[in-house]
Symmetry: C2
Subunit: 218 residues, 2 copies
């Protein structure tokens, strides 16, 4: 499949490399074509890897990942172009963290709204699936790094889109039993607000390579 | 030990009963003495169980639990009386849920503050330990209800207070290895914001009897 990954940070590059390994053609999109990290990635990794603007990546991809900084995601998607997003599955892995605030990261949107919902409202024809935002980049594409069984959440209004994303997750190594569908896109609130807990888990563990396993009643 | 439990809902009564079973003397506190649920509890359970006002329970207890509705907790603690709280360990199990808002529960405080911090700021001489707010009442006092290992968080500024609360948790059945100290009271933000995810986990599971297990890196 042709996949566009918006965002050239560690999350975008990690996803792009793993998708390439799984046999997809991948274009990494940045605010400007020729982005240093994107060019280095495309040149270094070989295979059907390319880079360009957000619009280039969005036009290229049959399916898209939003791996931009959450506070900048709506702007990045506007640059990608609503008409190039329309009808496509968009996996939103971003967290709306505002690292500029003094007392530790806070969210730019939360509680009665979420970035996932904002994206779905702003680009109504996009099939948004919130996923993977609850783990660090390395774990997204290699769940084996965390010991034992652990859970990855998906949420979105389009059941077929969630099924398609579930197949990509399984190719990353997530067992079907570890993929938990939390329902419609409003579940993105909980998935994003979990960042506040996750940052403390990271602090307590001394590493971001961790996750939670949802344990059922006996 | 003499323990005062503020709040006569299912959380307060469940904690009070379990503490009584573990050999403590327990007074359940309500806004008004003679609260129907509190009287029924004290009359029905036998042993060193009593009920009274928030102030009665706070004065009685050497250690206190805040099991009031989060949106009303600061008022309840003011009625309990700052001078009766001073120097005592207060286990804050409340979540600041605003069930009055139309689109599903939201928090009355979150992101750059938390109920746990508000309580600690308002009653500076109280040794606040945020704990148990991330599981349903039955699981708080009987972690065996959830299958396999799973994690309970504690946070607070007073290390000795957290140790004391850890002993109460162990008496409820939480293994030492499952008690995770997230640091100072600002970690209450993440523990309370987790409610937004937890409510969706409940929805997905069809039961509130569940929890998460924090899984480390291999």
């Amino acid at each position: 499949m042709r996949i566009g990954v918006l965002g050239t940070g560690i999350v975008g590059r990690t996803l792009a490399s793993a998708l390439l390994s799984n046999g997809h053609e991948v274009r990494l999109g940045a605010r400007n074509a020729g982005n240093e990290a994107a060019v280095a990635w495309a040149d270094g990794i070989g295979g059907p890897a390319s880079e360009g603007t957000f619009a280039d990546a969005a036009g290229f991809g049959e399916l898209l990942f939003n791996a931009t900084a959450g506070a900048a995601s709506l702007d990045a998607l506007a640059l990608a172009g609503a008409e190039q997003l329309a009808g496509k599955v968009l996996v939103d892995v971003a967290n709306p963290l505002d690292s500029a605030r003094g007392t530790g990261p806070v969210l730019t949107v939360c509680n009665d709204d979420s970035l996932g919902e904002q994206i779905q409202r702003t680009f109504a024809d996009v099939r948004v699936v919130k996923a993977l935002n609850t783990v660090t980049a390395a774990v997204m594409v290699d769940p084996w790094l965390v010991d034992g069984a652990h859970t990855i959440f998906v949420a979105g209004d389009d059941a077929a889109a969630k099924t398609e994303v579930g197949e990509l997750l399984r190719a990353f190594g997530w067992p079907a039993a570890s993929i938990l569908d939390l329902g419609d896109i409003t579940a993105a609130r909980g998935m994003e607000m979990y960042m506040a807990l996750w940052l403390r888990l990271w602090g307590a563990a001394g590493t971001a390579v961790l996750n939670v396993d949802v344990r059922p009643a006996r």
